[in-house]
Amino acid sequence: MKVDEMEEPILRIRGLKTDFYTYEGAVKALDDVSFDLYKGETLGLVGETGCGKSVTALSIMQLVPEPGKIIDGKIMFKGKNLLGLNAEEMMKIRGKEIAMIFQDPLTYINPVLTIGDQIAEVIMFHRSLDRDVLEMKTKELEKTSQSDPASSKVDGLESKTERLKKMENPPKPSRQDLKKVTREKTLEMLRWVRMPYPEKVIDQYPHELSGGMRQRAVIAMALSCRPSLIICDEATTFLDVTVQAQILGLLQELKKEANLSVMFITHDLGIVAQFCDHIVVMYAGVIVEQTDVSKLFDNPLHPYTSGLLAAIPTFHRNKGRLNIIPGNVPNLINPPSGCRFHPRCPHAKAICKKEKPKMVEVIPEHFVACHIFSTPNEWGQ
């Protein structure tokens, strides 16, 4: 068990259950979802559209829209259970500790505010900029002393800067100063995400930017307070392939520079292979397999995963029909009993209809939830 050897994971989810209460019935969107995310690693959450990946992300952020509700489970972030926090405390976590990037930069940015404003508000809301204002003033003083040594402000400069640096409780900065500092920080952020022409973009409106630039702006908004964890919900799905590559490359670099942990949600296995360290495969609201990237692609254990990988079209082999997984994604108001995949599974047995398979460590660090591998070494707790 890896848990004993390494430190505590930065995010630990256990038994997450989320339902949506609609007119037709309760949609059991997430059923007993459990996985870990360790510091500094990129976790890929993979699955078809509608399998519950976004709902998982929203559940972590506690932004599940009506009529959804988180019914059960624990989400431990840095040791604290997020589901036990009240609204105010959760607000402090969002944006500051955990940030989220969404899929469609066009609809996910406010069209009537400038890019600069939207980044600045995150900074102003979460960070206390008193120290930064102080630093700015000190720098200004030093600049005046260098450029204009005869100015009256220079008198007693040494003592002034010493005093400023030593101040424990900096005075409350004026609005103007705050604005200047925030603007500086915003420009810094824009440069950090490699935005072209940051001085222009900061005052532009979202509709004036291209898709890739918008997504960079969203990334800037997310990272402006140096969160520890960032969740990317299909962040590149709506972009062109070339832009996709750019953004992914950017995310890689930023991850290293800021020492982030990333949860990357996607349905594109190619991206996962390139970008992620660890994969969690979801199907119809349950986790079916979790392991490292290389182990998954070399040796997919769960029938669903092997079906997915077999369905990838290849040009140099198999000139016949494309392989598919027969059947359809189930209606989650009445999900299949037992294992949710059993109606489509080529290896389904009698027990699959009756019992939900438990997540089991079949090979070291390779966990599957399937009755084929009902052996000891149970995963979890």
Binding site: R94, G95, M100, F102, D104, Y108, P111, E121, V122, H207
Partner: protein, 357 residues
């Protein structure tokens, strides 16, 4: 290159709107022309220029007027001269106002404007607040209460509400010997005599404040309360409804989810993100509403004997004073078109997507 395209797009947008307005004004003038011939009664369109009863029955004067205003020519020529007169400022003579129509408009317009302005301000402030509260607390008791309130406002017969207010705040208070609100007019006649007003804009409240004429100000305030309350009830309800529905629409948008994921407080999300987007349709509707109010709060002015355009026109129509009526129609159409244009421009100002193409 993109900059050039952007500014050109904005300019063409504005010019196009202006051009579309002109045929509408033309069309209205055709209607007024036609109606003044039809409704003029036995003597026809010359009634627009007749100044009093005696002239009406004096054939010599009538003949003179007909020749003067080219009413003996064929119809299409008459229309041409009619247009020329309109542009030159001769809109006929208002028997009800005892002055040329344009002068009468100049006299009565400020009263209507003042009433419309005060009403719009009240409606905007209260309506927006109600709309926001109603949207944020959707389906809770307060939402149902405000919705019924709004619906009542839209269903309210304005003239009846005015009468009710008069009864409550004038009659009942007066009977009980308490201080009461006046039921008619813009200002107390005795106050107007003792403290005459220096007219600058024609808006009593503004002018009296600017010239430091406190008694006049108080009296005008006193007099404007009831009529503006009656009028604003309906407008307020409408603004609340529009605000509520656009807020609801905005709150469902994706960027609100992003704003929340940034960890911003609910207040910031509502007031900074949602409101700015929801305000756009509300502001434009308010502008249009203001234009409509300018066009004659006829019924309210009648009930409260408010000396504005609506009362003037109603009195005229009851005495078949066509010049007044048509003049009123024309000015209202002009106001309507102008307000529409301004609203379009304001919309462009608020929504940067329109501004920059």
């Amino acid at each position: 290159m993109r900059e050039l395209a952007k500014s050109v797009r904005l300019r063409t947008y504005v010019i196009r709107r202006l051009i579309l307005a002109i045929p509408v004004l033309f069309g209205v003038s055709v209607m007024t022309f036609t109606l003044s011939h039809i409704v003029g009664g036995p003597i026809g369109a010359v009634a627009s220029y007749v100044q009093n009863e005696q002239q009406l029955h004096n054939p010599a004067v009538l003949d003179l007027l007909i020749k003067q205003h080219h009413l003996d020519r064929p119809l299409y020529e008459q229309y041409f001269y009619y247009l020329v007169e309109l542009i030159n400022g001769d809109w006929g003579y208002s028997r009800t106002g005892r002055q040329p129509v344009l002068n009468a408009i100049g006299q009565y317009f400020p009263a209507t404007f003042e009433l419309a302005l005060v009403t719009t301000i009240i409606s905007l402030v209260v309506g927006v607040a109600i709309g926001i509260v109603s949207a944020v607390r959707k389906d809770r008791p307060i939402d149902h209460v405000t919705r019924v309130f709004s619906l009542t406002g839209v269903s309210m017969p304005v003239f009846w509400l005015g009468l009710m207010l008069q009864f409550m705040f004038y009659y009942t208070l007066r009977i009980s010997g308490l201080p009461y609100l006046p039921s008619s007019g813009r200002v107390d006649i005795f106050v107007a005599l003792d403290y005459p007003l220096q007219t600058i804009t024609g808006l009593y409240l503004l002018d009296s404040l600017l010239t430091g004429n406190l008694p006049f100000f108080l009296s005008s305030l006193h007099h404007i309360i009831l009529p503006s309350l009656a009028l604003s009830f309906t407008s307020l309800a409408m603004i609340a409804r529009i605000m509520r529905s656009s807020m609801l629409e905005v709150m469902r948008q994706d960027y609100i989810t992003l704003a929340r994921s940034k960890g911003l407080s609910e207040k910031v999300v509502i007031y900074r993100h949602a409101l700015r987007n929801a305000a756009i349709p509300t502001v434009t509707s308010t502008g249009l509403m203001f234009g409509a109010l300018l066009g004659g709060a006829t019924l309210t002015e009648t009930v409260f004997a408010w000396p504005g355009l609506g009362k003037w026109a109603t009195a005229a129509i009851l005495t078949t004073d066509i010049a007044t009526v048509m003049g009123f129609a024309l000015i209202v159409a002009v106001i309507y078109v102008t307000v529409n244009l301004i609203v379009d421009l304001v919309y462009g100002f608020f929504d940067p997507r329109i501004r920059y193409g």
